[in-house]
Symmetry: C2
Subunit: 239 residues, 2 copies
């Protein structure tokens, strides 16, 4: 009975339960590949594909439903949530303005802690932005992986500011916003060529934080988000 052989470094990613594994798998699938909105996410089909029973899949979908990536209709199943259309896009930027400007002001209270991290992140963003610029200058296909990495670092700057507030509630909300922003980038392919602009604007925010000027930092953040909004508008108009 006691077959308790200690697996040692035997990687057991199921150590955290199948539910979380399935959750991350579906989340990655939704984030990376472009799946048409409205696509049915059949529980049984996913369970068969992943060689697991429907129960963990069901729980993972409940968790995903709360994020807004999938929608559920009682007795009809789950579907991929509709994309963000222009009206909601404006609302998303309004929400970001409210949240991030306030967060920036609060983060200024812990400027000494957050500035170094922001500095390192901005430097990474600068390097990656340069790589992206070169890749586009060289022509060829869009460097998907590189862009994904750049976007991740770009968002990490904003995320660090939320962490800098030392406020768990705002941090939770930033998670909600994060997923929606990523989803927006799938539909509005903005931010491809605006890397230099974003780096400069992030630099202005960082400078204000370095001076401990919360109001100026919040104003710089407002300016940044408004400019991103404008670039997104132009992108949707050109599409």
């Amino acid at each position: 009975m006691s077959e308790t052989v200690y697996p040692l470094a035997g990687n057991t990613p199921q150590r955290k339960g199948l539910r979380d594994s399935v959750y991350e798998l579906i989340l990655n699938m939704l984030m990376t590949s472009d799946i048409a909105p409205g696509t049915r996410l059949s529980i049984d089909v996913i369970a068969r594909d992943l060689k697991v029973s429907p129960t963990p899949v069901r729980e993972a979908l409940v968790q995903l439903e709360r994020t807004g990536l999938v929608t559920r209709e009682a007795l009809k199943g789950y579907r991929v949530a509709p994309p963000i259309h222009s009206g909601q896009l404006e609302a998303l930027f309004d929400a970001r303005l409210v949240l991030e400007c306030g967060a920036t002001e609060l983060a200024a209270g812990h400027a000494a802690d957050v500035v170094p991290e922001l500095d390192a992140t901005l430097e990474k963003q600068r390097e990656l932005g340069e790589k992206v610029r070169r890749a586009f200058a060289a022509g060829g296909p869009a460097p998907v992986d590189l862009l994904r990495e750049y976007f991740a670092v770009d968002w990490q700057f904003h995320h660090l500011i939320f962490e800098g507030t030392r406020n768990p509630f705002l941090l939770d909300m930033s998670e909600d916003i994060s997923i929606r922003v990523h989803r927006m980038r799938q539909t509005v392919n903005a931010g491809v060529t605006d890397a230099p602009d974003a780096v400069i604007e992030h630099g202005l925010i960082l400078d204000a934080l370095r001076n401990g000027d919360g109001d100026a930092a919040a104003a710089a953040m407002r300016d940044h988000i408004e400019k991103v909004r404008e670039r997104a508008r132009q992108d949707t108009a050109a599409r």
Copy 2:
């Protein structure tokens, strides 16, 4: 192709399945009765109590976990989340300041739509506040149901402002905050005797909105929340 058949007024309240029923039952249980934090929420026990199978209970708990009311440890089960202690209480008010002041400013853009509803709600709050005052003046035990009703109307004022933004993202976040505020009221028993103050402060916000002055409304909201924070501080200090 054109399969957009609008079935009814879209209102199908009895079509929600067991999962949502269980969710609402547990939510109400956590909201109303005072349950000690850390209490184990056994899936099987709940299932037996509610005469259902563990599966819907499990899904309801996954949903509750996302709200922060319960915590989960893999292979160890669910527990009632710890209460809000003083440090987090300050953070909660900071988050409210960020969210609600921004929301108030945005709601001012739709003042014509929201002012009537706010007016009616404030009137209800005034009446209930008076009832509460009389009940306390008469002595006797705390009128639990009456207080619950008063708090509901009090929060409805704030909720209507979130709705007034016409911003689904901010509205979602307000739901998250709402649960935490209710939970705070369980621990910090503030707001019992401050009904007149709250009515006056809400009135100031409403006046500013009636004038269409977004900045003044946001300032009034900031003033209100700061005063609530101060009253909560005094309450925790006196306890």
